[in-house]
Symmetry: C2
């Protein structure tokens, strides 16, 4: 939602309140949000897609009302450092990506991003200074039309109670058991009463 995007100036302060120290990718993500929203009409609502699960979703969640939990932010595991804001009805939107050509002018960012220097040898002061000095200059924008099929809300399914664990789950193709009790997903064992 464009109208209520936070000013970027307070972004690092907000990050500091949220996490211990600002990750480089998070700050660049903040500039991405800023570049996109400067170029979008101010009176419309937007959904967001992040192409990477690293850092970018947090930039969006800290600077806009779009979140994973409210469904306005989706993550597609493409692995590119890019995000798209788009109108849910028309699909029209803007995609921002880290421009590897522009990055060449900022060696500390380029080295960090392409992992050319081992992490322990990185000069994080220098990296952050380079990120702040680059701002939106390492980001490029594209006008895109998003396939709105992927953002259409699935028809609200009924809620069933699993015959084994007695917890509620979406009554879809899973029969009378939830995805854990029917063995489709497993991530824990019981370790106590």
């Amino acid at each position: 939602m464009n109208k209520r995007v936070l000013p970027l100036a307070g972004f690092e302060k907000k990050i500091a309140a949220f996490r211990e120290k600002p990750a480089p990718g998070l700050i660049i993500g903040g500039y991405m949000v800023d570049e996109i929203t400067k170029n979008l009409p101010k009176d419309r609502f937007y959904d967001v897609i992040c192409e990477s699960i690293k850092c970018l979703p947090d930039a969006v969640q800290l600077l806009t009302p779009c979140s994973v939990g409210n469904g306005w932010l989706r993550i597609l595991k493409i692995g590119r450092f890019a995000m798209t804001f788009f109108d849910k009805e028309t699909g029209e939107g803007i995609r921002a990506y880290l421009d590897t050509e522009k990055l060449k002018k900022y060696p500390p960012i380029n080295e960090w991003f392409f992992k050319l220097t081992p992490k322990r040898e990185q000069d994080s002061e220098k990296l952050m200074a380079s990120i702040r000095s680059a701002g939106g200059a390492i980001i490029s924008l594209q006008k895109v039309k998003v396939d709105t099929d992927i953002t259409k809300k699935k028809k609200d399914h009924k809620v069933a109670v699993c015959a084994k664990c007695h917890e509620a789950y979406p009554a879809t193709e899973d029969g009378n058991l939830c995805k854990v009790c029917n063995g489709k997903i497993s991530y824990y064992d019981f370790s106590g009463e």
Copy 2:
């Protein structure tokens, strides 16, 4: 991270700053975080798994330093209203779930959760009052041991530049093209220069 969990008292205020109005599931998610953290040692760090993408991830992100973008929060699409806090090294943790038996004592929450009343006929004041009065009384806890294989960091892969779009992507099995350029994932077309 348990030590730095926010007091639940300020939770609704924090939600109000973040979203327009508190979703019922978000508030219940807040009580889940609270019930779990009351029962965990105070001096340890925890990762979190949410079993649903709805509301719960936002409760975790608002009340703890674990986020999707920093990798300390993972979402498994199981569809149960449950979350697990666990020690990344040992896998030991606590799982909280909405207890459908306990829910019977709170008809407004039960009706909302099982979608027994059409949304427009719901009395949201009554629902929120019932949620606040129930607090943690509709939640049950289980001691679990999480399979730490799923939380192990994948070996850091090299960063490649896609031969077609020239953006950076993880150099894995995808050859010399990113997942969009090789057609594995598609979500937009270009609509302008």
